[in-house]
Amino acid sequence: MTMRMTRRNLLAGGAALLSYSMLASSALSQEGRLRVLWWGSQARADRTNKVNQLFQSENQGVSINGEFLGWSDYWPRLATQVAGRNAPDVIQMDYRYIVEYARRGALAPLDDYLGSTLNVEDFDKVQIEGGSVDGKLYGISLGANSAAMMVNAVAFEEAGVDLPTPNTTWDDMARIGAEITKAGKRKGFYGIADGSGVEPLFENWLRQRGKALFTADGKIAYDANDAAEWFAMWTAMREAEACVPPDIQALDQYTVETSPLSLGKAAASYAHSNQFVAYQGVNKDKLALNNFPLIGKDAKGGHYRKPSMFFSVSAQTQDPELGAKYVNFFVKDPKAAEILGVERGVPESAAVREQLAPTLDELGRAMLDYVSGLGALAGALPPPPPSGAGEAEFALRTVAEQVGFGQLDAKQGGETLVNEVSQILSRG
């Protein structure tokens, strides 16, 4: 059989058909109808749907169509809908993706509604800036969180080690980790998870050294020596068995149930404070929240409070004002706040926080206390991540694994990482 699939034939036949594929079709949204899309669990959906009904009952003639998906299904569906000019009117956004979507013109700027439809005066100013890209506001934060260490308090107690405190240093952590492993109270159990490929942890460490992941103009903001030192620190911990071995760490897909903590492999792991409830849900032992370790006794912490997620309004919506009104209701209305609780993180509005504080359960309380109690450990919000930040995170993870499995030593790891990240960022 001959394969005669000439491009010319295909193109000739397809040229006519090409035109329709490239045409943008009209958006499907109608008057008074809002499509809202978010990611999350059924528990989150239950709360969100209740708020949607509340909004409908208070706004005659508006109907809200809520859709939700798990995190991994969410992004391909959103990308397809946006590309097809069929985007939802209100879109839940992640800190990383908001830049990608905003810079491509997929989101509506909300600055014009500030002070009229959007009454977010009692938000922490920094958090409003967190939803800004290139000087325009594209997302309203649904809750603040900060990176945090999830600690299995029971395992620490078993091993006879004191729980970490706000002043615990990396040297302490290495020692404690090795002690827990040595105590051998549980089978195949280690002190802490291997965080060498965990970007928030690396970033926190860099910030304590006065560096950062990226500069404001989207370049790399650390050098090969920083990275090499970081990897060397973890190599030492791996050798001392303070942290889990590389093949156990590689099971971690940065989801709640695959972290070494949830898998029963380590007494501490790294996540975001708003995931505390989820972590406690899959862990039988009681957990505690702690800030990341310090690089030295009198170091300043590298934390910052960041929006856990945003609501953005689509640039394709027929009625951006209605979208803004809905978002405002979502973050400010007392009844809505009561329904939502702290499930998406600690509310940004001071009034809502005051209203909720007395009603919280133990887990919610711990989360709120952690985020608002960071104090001097928390600094300024870094500039929004550049395009390619997602790939850079991936590169860190891969290089960390290469060092972990012994394919590279710490010095080579540092050089490789800086090379790869620089290349990724230059490609944009």
Binding site: G13, L17, R104
Partner: protein, 318 residues
């Protein structure tokens, strides 16, 4: 198709061509028209639904389309970058070729062996067949990720078994030296589809051929070698070609088991997974389209080669 047959049939050279003009038209119609009538649904589908998007993606491979903004023509830049400056492409090609070479022969051999075993009318045939097909019913369900971790993680079942013999195994699924093997095992575990196709092929072999052979005193082995294998070649060929194409395009297993990362250290970075990361993770649909067409080219070469060599070993009854 059999290369023996010439597809371009000279008009009027039909066996039943009549001298009158009307008759000639009628004969052209019966000769070619019927074929196109039967092909009509497919043609409508192809021109209406498949060709447009395919051409569009080919066009996009020469642009910097980022899913949202309108695309700009960049010429062959995407292809040049793939060929010269993309280490991940090389990694993905390596992983994919390994996967094809490892999973396809195992899967086919296993499927054929079991199909032949099950075709011999043993007791409990239906039950066995159903059991062997069950894993394939799961497809690429979310549950598989968890099941595979239960088997191949550090304290999974496999290591529990090895521990009985005093062997301490690594965490297979998350170790770069072995992770791809766990995906190969998954592929072989779901050998139900080629098995069913082999079974259907075995069913199509007329029993009177075996009867005749038995009367002639041919041994079971000889019957297999002389009747079963030659008559099964079209089905073996089909399974080999299709399984190879599927293995080149495999996506779901790696996507589910590595959580979309292709890790650890890109050891399970299937080609299509990389393509997906570029398209939906990094918003480079233009680049992903170029990757896709390079894959089409690779698969196309393989398939063409298979068809060209098939005439030497595949036996058709026409």
């Amino acid at each position: 198709m059999a290369a023996v047959q010439d597809s371009t049939v000279a008009v009027g050279a039909g066996a039943n061509a009549r001298p009158t003009a009307q008759g000639r038209l009628a004969s052209i119609w019966t000769k070619h028209g019927a074929g196109y009538m039967f092909l009509l649904p497919w043609l409508v589908g192809f021109f209406g639904l498949t060709l447009g998007p395919a051409v569009a993606s080919f066009y996009l491979s020469f642009t910097n389309f980022d899913l949202i903004r309108s695309s700009e023509w960049v010429g062959t830049a995407n292809y040049v970058r793939i060929a010269t400056a993309d280490p991940k492409f090389a990694a993905a090609i390596k992983v994919t070729f390994l996967y094809v070479v490892l999973s396809v022969p195992f899967k086919l051999a296993f499927a054929l062996l079991v199909a032949i075993l099950l075709n011999r009318g043993i007791k409990g045939l239906t039950v066995y067949r159903a059991i062997f097909y069950l894993p394939s019913l799961l497809g690429g369900s979310v549950a598989i990720a968890v099941l595979w971790r239960q088997l191949f993680a550090g304290d999974g079942l496999i290591n529990s078994l090895l521990a009985q013999f005093g062997i301490e195994g690594p965490s297979w699924i998350s170790h770069p030296d072995y992770s791809l093997w766990t995906l190969v095992v998954l592929s072989v575990w779901q050998f139900g589809s080629p098995m069913i196709i082999f079974l259907a092929g075995l069913r199509q072999i007329p029993t009177d051929m075996y009867e005749a052979a038995s009367l002639d005193g041919a041994s079971k082995f000889r019957q297999f070698y002389k009747i079963t294998l030659p008559l099964l070649t079209p089905v073996i060929f089909f399974n080999a070609v299709v399984q190879t194409i599927e293995a080149f395009k495999a996506f779901t297993p790696a996507f589910i088991i590595s959580g979309g990362t292709g890790g650890p250290i890109n050891s399970t970075l299937f080609y299509t997974l990389y393509l997906y990361q570029e398209a939906f993770g990094n918003f480079r649909m233009g680049y992903a389209s170029a990757l896709a067409w390079i894959l089409v080219l690779i698969i196309g070469l393989f398939t063409a080669f298979s068809f060209l060599t098939s005439r030497y070993w595949v036996h058709y009854d026409d």
